[in-house]
Amino acid sequence: MDTTIKNSNLKSEEYFINMGPQHPATHGVLRLLLTIDGEIIKKVEPDLGYIHRSIEKMCERDSYQQIVHLTDRMDYLSSHINNEAVCLTVENALQIEVPERVKVIRTIIGELTRIASHCLWWGVMGMDVGALTTYFYGFRDREMINDIFEETCGARLTMNYNLPGGLMFDIHPNFVKRTKDFIAHFKTKLSEYDTLLTGNIIFQKRMKGVGILTKEDAISYGASGPVGRGSGYSCDVRKYHPYSALDKVTFNESLKTDGDSFARYQVRIQEMWESMAIIEQLIDNIPEGDYQTATNAVIKLPKGEFYQKVETARGELGVYIVSTGTKNPYRLKFRSPGFSNLSLLNHIAVGGKIGDLVATMATLDLVIPDIDR
């Protein structure tokens, strides 16, 4: 990778360049301070804080029902899974068992969210490496999922469909049919994704052998989700600590050992297939029953510390609540997957070109509000 001329009389200097906060490849307001030697990246320093809204502090003010809707605004592409994480923590603390129906619906919508998030990622991934058409194909399929969400939950992005103790309301009568239609539609489209982009020689050259992350590094940097699994680190929370109805379904953890950008890409494509498999197992037999268990209007958690982790589209999201027995948490901490995944950007991007940095960053699938909170 080191292509600088060693014994040259020409004096060359490294220089700094500000990538972001307004830059098309940082997908939001991430600022990267790059140290560059020509085109080669010497150092990447992420600078955060441009979309910090102090969500964790706001949580200390809010009741447990209100906390849920704040998590929508963290990783807005997996908002349902974030909501579920908070609800699961509160339910575990209160030791309530939610009805089976709730568990199954949560899992289905969670997996749909994952597909929607990966669809968007795929489109944007293509756009970052310069194939602008993928963006529209990805969004076309994501719109179908958003329609399902809008019909059932009332919103497309920040759904807030969960409550501690269940769901806000029952699924819409059209939900099952629409989901099945989507799965049938998406199966053909996902193969098309492969023909259009995955096989493309330029794309493969851009992705293979770029941004290599070893398994050891993945573990020590705390990588999770597709980033960790692309490096062969088996870390699917859905497999190891199944929550909701995930213990009732069979699916394969998508795992690649190469650790390069292409491995991370393949893991996400594979995850979409697996998510569809999970939905197919559950969609036909959503158990009858209540969509809510009765909880007090004012939820007071017992004194203590509670932790629950879930697998969002980006990786492991942990919710850690310290309660003093009042109706608000004493301290609430989110372990967001994006933050850990961003921390290894410097490690894997150094030595590459600017184009590599953009491609690598796209495979990390960063959502900046999730990192900044």
Binding site: I17, M127, G130, R140, K205, I354
Partner: protein, 354 residues
């Protein structure tokens, strides 16, 4: 009045009726320059519109459809907007070079247009080194890009400009060599002569296998030459924002933008002239009506322009080192082999002629 298609001659004769000869010559030049300028500013806008429409159809969108019928006036409206916009710039920019750069780009692309035979004799400037002139002129445009990137005092623009330099210098070779392959058959650099030779069959048929290789190499290198995706290293919006024209606004930006599209037209027009017989109709079906040559020339050119748009809206962008690998390790050696093959074919009289 019977107007000859040879416009230079026509105008000179018309003017020399009441003007001294030297003045008439200059007058004819100015008139023709103005005609070309007018036609190609409109053609550039039209190409932008086509690009946007084609992109939309590739991407399941509708494209511009608000201004005028089917959005036909959209780019006109855009141009009006750009004319009325403020020309901004950075504080420490080299003002002279910064302002000069867009003219380099637009002038070089307009100059290149003058040598194309649109139909029989319909050519502003029929010189005997036509093809050489085209290649020479098209590499002047990169000076504008380099100047613009350097002078605008922006690091992103600078990186874009440097990439552009690297890219154009490399791919010039392939463009030149692939056209040289075809010159082996024609034996002339004059564009009207090249078209004349193709009356016995288009060169892509005459030269068969090496001609097809040369055409593929030419299209790849030509796309790179115009800085379009998948070789849009220079702009690379997801990497450099807008690349070399980051700091340009208003009409100066529009010059760069327009030049990109006219360059695309030029590259396609060269390919149409050299490989596909220029204004010649297929099997000579309309040879008796020379005016229709314009139609055939434009039809061929637009087909190739469409091909370049298809590339752009399908492929990811190459990385800058891969771009050079492609040129120096694949296109250039293949090109040299191809020339030898073509030379053998011409020498052994294996060309297909009707």
């Amino acid at each position: 009045m019977n107007i000859s298609l040879n416009i230079t001659k026509t105008f000179t004769e018309l003017l020399s009726g009441f003007l001294p000869e030297s003045t008439a010559n200059i007058g004819a030049m100015v008139i023709i320059a103005l005609i070309y300028l007018a036609i190609f500013s409109v053609a550039g806008l039209f190409l932008v519109l086509i690009e946007r429409k084609v992109a939309a159809w590739f991407q399941l969108r509708l494209g511009p459809n608000r201004v005028g019928p089917w959005g036909l006036l959209q780019t006109m409206a855009d141009a009006l907007k750009l004319v009325s916009k403020e020309l901004t710039g950075t504080v420490k920019a080299d003002k002279f070079l910064y302002n000069l750069a867009p003219y380099f780009v637009i002038v070089s692309s307009l100059m290149a247009l003058s040598v194309f035979p649109f139909t029989q004799n319909f050519q502003a400037f029929d010189i005997n080194i036509g093809l050489f002139f085209l290649i020479a002129i098209s590499s002047i445009g990169v000076i504008g890009i380099l100047l613009g990137g350097w002078a605008s005092n922006n690091k992103f623009a600078l990186i874009g400009a440097m990439r552009s330099g690297v890219q154009t210098i490399s791919y010039e070779i392939s463009v030149g060599l692939s056209l040289l392959t075809m010159v082996l058959i024609t034996g002339s650099l004059q564009l009207s002569e090249i078209v004349e030779v193709q009356k016995n069959g288009w060169l892509i048929v005459q030269g068969h296998i090496p001609a097809i290789f040369a055409f593929m190499i030419y299209m790849i290198a030509g796309t790179a030459e115009t800085n379009r995706a998948p070789f849009d290293m220079v702009e690379a919006e997801s990497e450099l924002g807008a690349g070399f024209h980051t700091e340009y606004s208003g009409m100066k930006f529009a010059y760069f933008f327009l030049a990109e599209f006219i360059n695309m037209f030029i590259i396609a027009a060269i390919a149409a002239t050299v490989f596909f017989g220029g204004w010649l109709s297929p099997f000579g079906i309309t040879d008796s009506i020379p005016w229709l040559g314009v139609f055939w020339f434009l039809a061929k050119t637009m087909t190739l322009v469409f091909l370049m748009m298809w590339f752009r809206w399908t492929f990811p962008r190459l990385r800058v080192d891969q771009l050079l690998t492609l040129e120096w390790k694949y296109l250039l050696p293949l090109n040299l082999l191809n020339i030898i093959l073509m030379a053998l074919i011409v020498w052994l009289n294996l060309t297909i002629q009707f």
